[in-house]
């Protein structure tokens, strides 16, 4: 039981770290603001959720893991709102999205 629990926790924590690393790379690699907002709003959110649930699995069935579930719910509810607020602001102030190289030439 404990071995299974630890294995699940390690898999979730490793997966969360991987997604957060990919989110960081995406913020640097993607071409414009709106696509970067995709990287920060989705990949990072999934990474944080996996990481925190991994920690909750590692803690077991205690009050601490219940608090971790509270943080998970909070992050899952607020991160799309924050991404939307930033992206809407950028659109209103007239930032032009990037439509790909081919279309700019044609």
């Amino acid at each position: 039981m404990s071995l299974l629990q630890d294995a699940l926790a390690i898999i979730l924590v490793l997966g969360g770290t991987f997604f957060m690393l990919v989110g960081s790379i995406g913020i640097n690699r993607l071409p414009d603001f709106f696509t970067r907002a995709h990287a920060s709003g989705k990949v990072d959110t999934l990474g944080i959720l996996m990481f925190l649930s991994g920690l909750a699995v590692f803690e077991g069935f205690t009050l601490t893991s219940a608090k971790l579930l509270l943080i998970i719910a909070f992050v899952a509810f607020t991160s799309p709102v924050a991404a939307h607020a930033l992206a809407r602001r950028a659109l209103i102030y007239g930032m032009k999205p990037w439509y790909g190289k081919r279309k700019d030439e044609g």
Binding site: V22, L30, F34, A37, L63, A76, A83, L91
Partner: protein
């Protein structure tokens, strides 16, 4: 999320003796469903946060929940938007729970999809802006739809004006899946009894080049 629901049920007069005692209970439940749910949710959050069951800390918990309820009860006089007053926002709870599980699955799918796009050496993205009109019953349904669009693979809500959604999509397949109206029908089914996915999403406009705006 949690709001006082103004019931549209016919009012039961208290001096009339109701033949069914359970009916009175249901009407109380229906009339104050939002408030009761809010109190239960806040009490559960307090118990999780505090973790102490001494009498003193339970008393402080009651004080805190009462304070928060009192302060947030003033919020309900603020209208939801300019055109709609505090309308009926009665959501169907079992469908909401099923929808939340579907949303968790969508979060996992969207994270892996965008991570695949980022790590692909050629980065096969083809970004575009989609504007469409979706007939949702009220403001809360529009907000749920907007948040769900942000969480589903490859799409990001940019703006909501009344019924007009402006969405940034990463690739062509994602845009087709969005416009098919599957998710809009799911959100609308949280409120209405039946609707089809064809007539949910109309007036689709694609902006795929810099001259569009």
């Amino acid at each position: 999320m949690c709001k006082v629901v103004h019931a549209t049920q016919p009012f039961l007069f208290f001096n009339q003796v109701s033949p069914f005692s359970t009916m009175n209970n249901t009407s109380l439940w229906l009339r104050h469903r939002g408030l009761i749910l809010q109190i239960l949710l806040l009490s559960a959050i307090w118990l999780i946060l505090s973790g102490r069951t001494d009498a003193v800390y339970l008393f402080w918990g009651v004080v805190s929940v009462a304070f928060v309820i009192w302060l947030s009860a003033k919020l309900h006089s603020i209208p939801l938007s300019e055109k709609e007053p505090c309308g009926t926002t009665r959501i169907i709870i079992p469908r909401l729970i099923v929808y939340l599980f579907w949303l968790v699955w969508q979060i996992i799918k969207s994270g892996t999809y965008v991570a695949y796009l980022i790590l692909h050496p050629k980065m096969p993205i083809d970004p575009m802006i989609v504007r469409f009109t979706s007939k949702q019953p009220n403001v809360l349904a529009r907000v749920i739809l907007g948040n769900s669009i942000t969480l589903t693979p490859g799409t990001l809500t940019l703006d909501i004006e009344d019924d007009l959604f402006t969405v940034h999509a990463l690739t062509q397949e994602v845009e087709e899946e969005l416009v098919s109206g599957d998710m809009e029908a799911r959100v609308a089914r949280l409120y209405m009894q039946d609707c089809t996915s064809e007539d949910m999403c109309c007036d689709i406009e694609l902006i795929t080049s810099g001259r569009g705006r």
